[in-house]
Amino acid sequence: MKRRDFIFLSGLGASAMMLPDLSAFGRSIDPQQLLDPIDIKTKKMLADIALNSAKTLGASYADVRIGRYLSQNVSTREQRVQNVSNSESFGVGIRVIANGCWGFAATNDVTKDGMAKTAARAVAVAKANAKIGGKPVDLAPQKGYGEVSWKAPIEKNAFEVPIKEKVELLLAANAIAMKGGANFVNSGISTINEQKYFASTDGSYIDQDIHRISPNFSVTKSDPTTGEFQTQSALSSPMGLGFEYLTPSESEKVKGIVTRYKQRYDILEDIAQATRNVGEKLKSKSVEPGKYDLVLDPSHLWLTIHESVGHPTELDRVLGYEANFAGTSFVSLDKVKSGTFKYGSEHVNIHADKLQKGSLGAVGYDDEGVKCGEWEIIKDGILVGLQATRDQAKVMGLSASQGCCYADGWDSVQFQRMPNVSLKPGKTPMSPDDMIKNVEKGIFIVNNGSFSIDQQRYNFQFGGQLFYEIKNGKIVGQVNDVAYQANTREFWNSCTGVCDEKDYRLGGSFSDGKGQPQQVSAVSHGSSTARFNGVNVINTKKKIG
């Protein structure tokens, strides 16, 4: 689930509801400052003060995260710059176990005094809550790694690229759209750098440098006679890459009815095709509802994987920890342990991978100091694994955590978050065009649209952006107003094929929401184009006024 845009209600944030979230990217800073790292010795000295304070006050375990979260957003509209922002969020979060209960406190006062006081508050919170009772926290063992570091393998730090260069690229893209007859165009580049320092009473001191980038645009065309309008967004994906993502490469393109992109993106080419496609879409016919064989492009399928496999296999949901907000899951521990639960057809092989190159979830260590790896979730259609943190691993019968702990800022408490969860490519050579050739009555869906799924992940409905009607093995044109509704298991069991690894691409989001208070996380989902037979398609068109 994505956190939506509530900017239109900006006044509501301050007092009608709660208070402004000043910490999350609240501080605008000089772009030069984005490049200045903080001395690691200072971080270790401060972390040790917090760990020692917590232990002295009775904590049986403590971890400290000193985080510097940097963000740059450049946004434009038609021929002008709308906004350039450079922001920093810097502070410390201290998590402890005292009297068997978790406690957490955070502050942006990152001084010796701030460390000690905040550690004391975390212990006080744990002790107050321990009085309520409940099962004591039971952590899976974790060895200390000593002083280690991990850095995202980027080629070009996006924060080092001058704003002028970014603005010029975006305005050049906008000009192509306007020349192509767009009524409106918005474009932007968002970049994130998480500089995270973790220390724990287990003896780990972990310094990490994580980079993410998301270029995007939306092109709108309207029909002056009817007042109808249509919008298309970019076929880019948010990626765990540097600015190299915006250097086009022919070998990273998948050609076809529309060009799609792997680990390099061509914004100028894409905006030209989006402008053409949105014009065609405006004139396209409304879909006839009924059963269709769906051919789903990775730019679309990532979100279906995310919602219908990623979330239901989160162990905290399975156990009931998310019951009050995100929900629980149709998956149970018994279903996993049985080794016979048929989640999908034999073509469905899904794994978790926290190391995947270019992915949003790639890190060396998670936010509770566990080294990251890769494991199976669905093998040949059978459910075989879930996603666990240190305080959940023993429930699964695991001897160690799977490294799924993440917090979206220094001021958020870390908890179980989804790793990259991806559909493995098929082993038989097959391109998307080969797949389409065998479809009699179908729809080829590209890019993600609206998405909704119930709180136990049974019933879902997905839209998209480009819908190509397939008749007797050929694409005959675009249709409109398409959404498909299905049940998770029926859907994955209707999978009749996955294209090979040459078609494999990542999709993803910066803002997967979960938890209370709600936190966002960035996650990727890879796949090749896949086919699903006999899926129920509805027509979403309705007129008002």
């Binding site: 689930m1 509530f6 006044g11 301050a14 709660m18 929900g327 008002i544």
Partner: protein, 445 residues
């Protein structure tokens, strides 16, 4: 840094402005302190406290603006942040939509702060959760819940003489109760400015009653039904339409655009049923807001929809100047007026319908019609011949709030309700709506 008083904030901001050499300089300072407890499986799962303070400066030369911020408040740091914002302004691209800052204005004091709420501690929170846990255990159920309180201040001053200050506090609580098998579920949520109004035991009891009434829910055919939406359900559905922005409407890309007439909006049109009136009011005692907008305009009671007619659109200062109209700040809170029906009367007058306690995972399907999809959750009941007959399995719906508000049969008394996703509060009445479109069934509990 503690929450600053009006006088302390004013003195600090004056000092910052004294360092400015720019044509225009605006300074903002804000801070908050708050805490939360989360529960699951009848125990605390996570809990924490956070405090943060920040000061930001925007300097402008001509139409070029630069911003910088800090969380250190000694004189040298304050001067440094002003200088940095000025350096950035010199390097920034021109913003053709830049508007000069506003001059002095008088703002009424808000009613958004409550000292008791601001004084909450980890122990206060633990006690409130213990009460909730008691109600859960008495009903033989298992809970997952969330309690959060926060207090803070914000203040702004510019070199044209504007000064504004506000402080606020709030507490929210929500709880879901289920049985061990996960075969039933009930929910309740409450939000207040004043902690004394929060009864976690009573709210949790309602969640347990809903859960226990949901045993053996049966599946009935999806289709068009008369529905009674409780305020928690209605708030989440309607928040998707509380965007009354003039610019997007006049640009032809909003549900408030007049189709086929360039630049025209539906202002003055009968948009929805005449029983519907929606307004903002900073002084609503149950849902107060601040009294000034971020750019320094006073917030006043504003009707957006009155007796079903679209009465006002919000205009940014830039767009208002382009169009030669008065700027209208967007909604600071939302109050939907109600009617005289009680929930019981609505049920009694329904031959066949569905009572909906909560909605879930609502997403936009079509921006032009505001078509939304989502599901029912945590208490869905069949009404037959004026009585609740049985719990039913959850539905997916595809429906537009605009169509829905054209199909209003009756309204009850507005209550402060919390949207389950944005976690924002609104004053929304229970609503009886005809022909609500359920499109499929869900097995989810």
């Amino acid at each position: 840094m503690a929450i600053l008083t009006k006088e302390e904030a004013q003195a600090l901001l004056k000092k910052v402005l004294s360092y400015s050499k720019a044509d225009e300089c605006e300074v903002f300072v804000g801070g908050s302190i708050g805490g939360n407890i989360r529960t699951a499986l009848n125990a605390v799962s996570t809990a924490g406290e956070t405090d943060t303070t920040s000061l930001s400066v925007s300097s402008t030369f001509g139409k070029k603006t630069g911003s910088a911020s800090i969380n250190e408040f000694d004189d040298a740091s304050l001067e440094k942040v002003v200088r940095r914002s000025e350096e950035l302004a010199q390097l920034a691209p021109e913003n053709p939509e830049h508007m000069p800052p506003l001059g002095p204005a008088t703002f009424k004091d808000s009613i958004t702060f409550n000292a008791d709420t601001a004084a909450m501690t980890p122990d206060t929170r633990a006690d409130l959760i213990a009460q909730s846990m008691k109600a859960t255990k008495e009903a033989g159920l298992v809970q997952a819940g969330f309690l959060e309180n926060s207090s803070g201040f914000s203040a702004t001053m510019n070199n044209k003489g504007l000064f504004a200050y506000n402080k606020s506090s709030g507490v929210t609580f929500s709880v879901t109760t289920r049985d061990d098998a996960g075969s039933i579920s009930g929910y309740a949520a409450r939000g207040f400015t004043d902690i004394k109004k929060l009864d976690t035991y009573g709210a949790t009891k309602i969640a347990t009653i809903k859960a226990n009434a949901s045993k053996n829910a049966k599946a009935i055919e999806p289709g068009k039904y008369t529905v009674i939406l409780e305020p928690t359900a209605g708030a989440y559905m309607l928040e998707n339409m509380f965007r009354f922005d003039a610019r997007s409407a006049e640009e032809g890309r909003s549900f408030l655009s007049k189709k086929g007439v360039k630049g025209a909006t539906r202002l003055g049109d009968q948009l929805v049923d005449e029983k519907v009136s929606i307004y903002s009011d900073p002084f609503n005692p149950d849902l107060p807001s601040g009294t000034w907008s971020g750019d320094g305009l006073p917030l006043e009671k504003t009707y957006w929809i009155e007796k079903g007619i679209l009465k006002n659109l919000s205009y940014s200062r830039y767009w208002a100047q382009q169009k030669g109209v008065k700027p209208v700040p967007g909604p600071s809170n939302i109050i939907m007026e109600g009617g005289n029906s009680t929930l019981e009367e609505m049920i009694a007058s329904t031959e066949r319908g569905i009572l909906v306690s909560r909605l879930w995972y609502i997403r936009m399907v079509d921006q032009q019609s505001l078509m939304l999809t989502g599901l029912t959750r945590d208490g869905t009941f069949l009404i037959e011949n004026g009585k609740i007959k049985a719990p039913v399995k959850n539905f997916r719906f595809n429906e537009s709030p605009i169509i829905m508000l054209n199909n209003v049969e009756a309204l009850g008394k507005p209550e402060r309700a919390i949207s389950v996703e944005s976690y924002r509060s609104y004053m929304i009445p229970p609503m009886k709506i005809r022909e609500f479109n359920f499109t499929s069934l869900s097995d989810a509990v």
